[in-house]
Symmetry: D2
Subunit: 136 residues, 4 copies
Amino acid sequence: MQVHHVRIYYEDTDFSGSVYHANYLRYMERGREHLIGCDELRRLWDEDGVGFVVYKAELTYKEPARFGDALEVRTTAERTSDWRAVFRQDVWRAGGSQPLVEGRIELVTVDKAGKLVRLPEGVRTAIDAQVASRTG
Amino acid sequence: MQVHHVRIYYEDTDFSGSVYHANYLRYMERGREHLIGCDELRRLWDEDGVGFVVYKAELTYKEPARFGDALEVRTTAERTSDWRAVFRQDVWRAGGSQPLVEGRIELVTVDKAGKLVRLPEGVRTAIDAQVASRTG
Amino acid sequence: MQVHHVRIYYEDTDFSGSVYHANYLRYMERGREHLIGCDELRRLWDEDGVGFVVYKAELTYKEPARFGDALEVRTTAERTSDWRAVFRQDVWRAGGSQPLVEGRIELVTVDKAGKLVRLPEGVRTAIDAQVASRTG
Amino acid sequence: MQVHHVRIYYEDTDFSGSVYHANYLRYMERGREHLIGCDELRRLWDEDGVGFVVYKAELTYKEPARFGDALEVRTTAERTSDWRAVFRQDVWRAGGSQPLVEGRIELVTVDKAGKLVRLPEGVRTAIDAQVASRTG
C-alpha cells in the first residue's frame, strides 16, 4: 500500500462547507502518480509518447472532508492483464477509523494518437513492487 | 431527458490534449442543477437549509473530448426511494453517434448538520416531471 | 464590447460561500475565447501551431458572487502592438449596478516551442472588429 | 520568507502542455495558508467567524511550468495597515535561476456577513514573525 498525503485548502471546498465531490478523483490521481513515480511518468510521455487514460471510475462517498483536513490517499494496485491496471484508492482522514471515500479506478495506457498500448515496463515494475511490499 | 450544453475551454483540458477525467463529474453536476433548477437549489439551501450530496458515482470513459468541443450532457433521473435519486448522465459530442462518457450518479439530500433528509418536494416534482415528459 | 454569460455552480464556490477568487480568471478566459472564436482558436492550434499565453493579469475584487448567480463577463480588447493584446474584462451580476471584479489581462501568442509570434491575422481581425463595433 | 512546495500533476496542466495560468493563484493561496497556519485558519473561521478575502491580485508570467515539475512558492508578507496584508509570492522551479511567475496579493479579513474586520491577532503574529525571521 502506498500513502499519499493531501491537505484540504480553500480551493478544495464548495459552499456546502465540504470538499467538492469531483476533487477526490484529483487526489486519487496524485496518489497514482506518486506510486508510479512522477519522473517516470514524465519520461514515458516525453520519450516514449505514452500516457494514462482512466477507463472506469467508481466512487462511494461515506463522510465529507472539510477545510484544513489532513487526508491520506491509500492506494493498492494490480495488473488485471498486460493492458489494464486497477487501483483501489481509499481516502482517509489522518487517524480516522473508516475511509471517507472509497474508489476503484481502471486505467489503460495509450500512445499520442490515442491507440491502446501494453502497460510499459516501468509501470508494471512499480505496480508489482507495490504488490510485493504489501504481501511480503 | 434533459440536455445541458458544455463548451470545452483551455481550463478543461490537460497536457495529454484531452479533457481531464475528473471534469466530467462537474459537467454532470451542472446538468443536474439545471434539471432541478438553479433558483430552486439556491432557495432550498438559503431557506430550507437543504443541500445535495453525491453518494455514489460510476463513470465509464469511451472516447476523449478535446479543446473546442461542444458537448451535451443528457440526463434522465428517477427516485429510487423517498431518500435517494439516481441520475443517468451520458456526455455526447454534439452530433456524435455514441456517448463519450457514461455516468450513473446517486444523490441524497442532507440538512446543514449533514443529517439525511427526505428528498424535498421541489426536487421530487422536477424529477417526476422529467420522467413524465420522457415517457409521455 | 462582448458579453459572455456564466452561471455559478457548486464547483465554483468555496466554503466561505462565495466564488473562489482564482475562478474569475477562468471566466475571463472563456470570454476571450468567445470573442476570438472557439473554432478559430482550435484551428490556430491544430493547423498553425499557435497558442495564447497570459503575460500579465491584474484583478480587483469588489464584491463576491454566490451560488446560483448569473454573471456577465464584459470584454473589450485592443492591440497594443503587433505582438500583444490587452483585454479589459469586468464581471457583473446580471442587472447589477457595478462590477463585482475588474480585470486587465495581457496576452501574447507563441508557437508550439513557446517562441513569441506576431498576433495571427484571425485574432487581429476579431479584436479590431470588436473595437469597431464598440466605437462605431 | 516562507517556502511551500508544489508538485505539478495532470490536473494542473492544459492542452498547451503548460500549467493553466489561473492555477498559480491556487498555489499562492496554499503558500499563504501554510504561512498563517492551516489549523489557525480553521479555528478563525469555526470559532471567530473570520475569513480571508483577496482584494487585489497582480501576476506576471515569465516562463511556463510543466507536468512533473517541482515548484516552490516563496512568500513574504507585510501588514500595510491594521486592515490589510500584502503578500509577495514568487513561484520558482526548484533549482531555477529566476521566478516563473511573480505575484502580489492584497488580502483583507471579513466576518461571516462579509463585513471588513481588523486582521486577527493570530494573523498579525504570523506575518510579523515571518518579517522578523527574514530581516533578523
